[in-house]
Symmetry: C2
Subunit: 322 residues, 2 copies
């Protein structure tokens, strides 16, 4: 057999797969640089977990055209144990219980498989390729319908004893405060998450002066653009809700910095992207921001990397297999 040299043989890659509520997306990632090539996607099946696992196998097989990948990393929208048992995933039809996804995919693909939480994948991507480059310790907070977080400690994404670290949305910021979907009260995401802001907006919109936002939103869910429109129009309730979100974020950032000596916080997600630097300034000016002593915390916007979930899943797989 003739020995082949040169560039025809691709470098070893890791396939990263981001499994979301609406689509499944796979990329081929160089684990050294984070450089991604190829992109395969499919609308997430609503026929239950087996069908979704079939799809994951299909996108991996499709993108791994050289069969040269050395491992598979998968990001899932729910809790994931260190061993790769994922779920429940409320955004995926029928995925109501924990399922050993790592074992299932390993037996189908005959390669190492590492499954991670999708927010942790996003945090890993920000750390390696985004706003966290060069830092050994950082906290990433993603504000969406709820609020998720990922912690990097000594250059490793913190998974936690049972794989549920980073549930920052359910940290209490206001004892006895706004009711949370989880049954608790005063949790961060009731102040900073879109669903929490929406519910509070409806509670305070008793017609009259506070009705501006409700008139924009109607019966649909509140969007980030509605809040931005409220600010543009000088609507007092919009200002108040944003201010309260900033205070809640500042408090959790300050406490986390105090406890963990974290110098960098990266903030991303719909509302943050929409409101931008002025919102970060509101957080910085809150009295609880910064934490104790010399813990001056840098607060920066996330880079909004392309396909951060898929790329981060591959990077976390590389970390775990190293």
């Amino acid at each position: 057999m003739t020995e082949v040299t040169g560039t025809a043989e691709p470098a070893p890659s890791i396939i990263g797969v981001d499994v979301g509520g609406s689509k499944i997306l796979a990329r081929r990632v160089d684990p050294e640089t984070g450089w991604a090539e190829g992109r395969v996607k499919a609308p997430t099946s609503t026929d239950g977990p087996e069908s979704v696992i079939d799809q994951i196998e299909a996108v991996v097989t499709s993108i791994d055209d050289w069969r040269s990948s050395i491992a598979i990393g998968v990001g899932m929208p729910g809790p994931v144990t260190p061993g790769g048992v994922a779920g429940p995933c409320p955004n995926i039809e029928g995925w109501d219980e924990p399922i050993d996804l790592a074992a299932g995919l390993r037996s189908r693909l005959d390669k190492p498989v590492v499954v991670s939480n999708d927010v942790n994948c996003g945090a890993a991507a920000e750390h390696r390729l985004g706003a966290g480059q060069g830092y050994s310790n950082m906290l990433a907070i993603f504000v969406g319908t709820g609020v998720g977080g990922g912690l990097v400690i000594d250059n490793r994404l913190l998974g936690g004893e049972r794989g549920i670290a980073g549930e920052i949305g359910h940290v209490t910021v206001e004892p006895g405060g706004r009711p949370c979907g989880c049954g608790g009260r005063g949790h961060l995401e009731t102040y900073a998450g879109r669903a929490g802001i929406d519910a509070e907006m409806r509670r305070r919109s008793d017609g009259g002066a506070n009705g501006f936002l409700l008139s924009l939103v109607g019966d649909s869910p509140l969007k980030s653009r509605h809040l931005a429109a409220g600010v543009d129009a000088g609507d007092p309730l919009s200002f108040a809700l944003i201010e309260e979100a900033a205070h809640a974020l500042a408090r959790v950032i300050g406490n986390t910095a105090t406890l963990l000596d974290i110098p960098l916080v990266v903030l991303g997600g719909g509302i943050v992207d929409r409101l931008g630097e002025p919102f970060l300034d509101q957080i910085r000016q809150s009295p609880d921001f910064g934490g104790y002593g010399p813990t001056v915390t840098d607060l920066v916007l996330a880079r909004r990397l392309d396909d951060a979930g898929a790329v981060g899943a591959a990077l976390l797989a590389a970390d775990q297999l190293a």
Copy 2:
């Protein structure tokens, strides 16, 4: 030269030194088992840092009679950088600035020296030899005049980017709450630390029904035994202060468990030792205890190990040199 075999040659040991405000104590520690032998101590000098460093050198030289130690671990009552720069240490006369203690001792003793914060030393001892045995992730909280903490993540004591992780006493539990010595408000130690409870007791003791504790304490600082006496006498203010301490601790424990997925919290220090299991029950019954989702947190009393500071300093030195 005749080769000597048998037990005359001691196993390699690490000298652990606990530098406190009143005494300096050294022990010879087997880094594998944590077993400690020998004990040398000296009253802490009030003649300034150079004199204290002389004392550290003296106790180490004295206890290391075989000159067989492979390293020195030192615990200091103040912040310590990862490189071993310690201070300020308010309890040591004249130690008002950071001093490169590791470098100073290394040049005097010609051995590896690792300097750690004393609370972290106590946490490491509890993890390896006390209530935390068998856990990979835990939080230790020590309640004294103030409140300190140490976090073990994946079997390593978390030092933090700049060596100031674990400042749990200054986590905000009550926005805008009791004033803290650091200038902040509503920090954990204003509710659970002896100095914070003392100050609050004086604020609420306006003669009349709330004067019981003040009549016991007078102008001296409040002690744990005063609170215990208040409970025995059915004093409502004593009950209230203890209840508020329990709620504050529960809140920080719950939030830390939520953020970090920590299954075990070890609690120690004067007030905790005095009040014991009933106080832990009060914490467990607080609504904020336990954190989010499946984060059921075990809360146990610290073991009150002998010379935990010195032994922990040696164990941390072993970890860092491994």
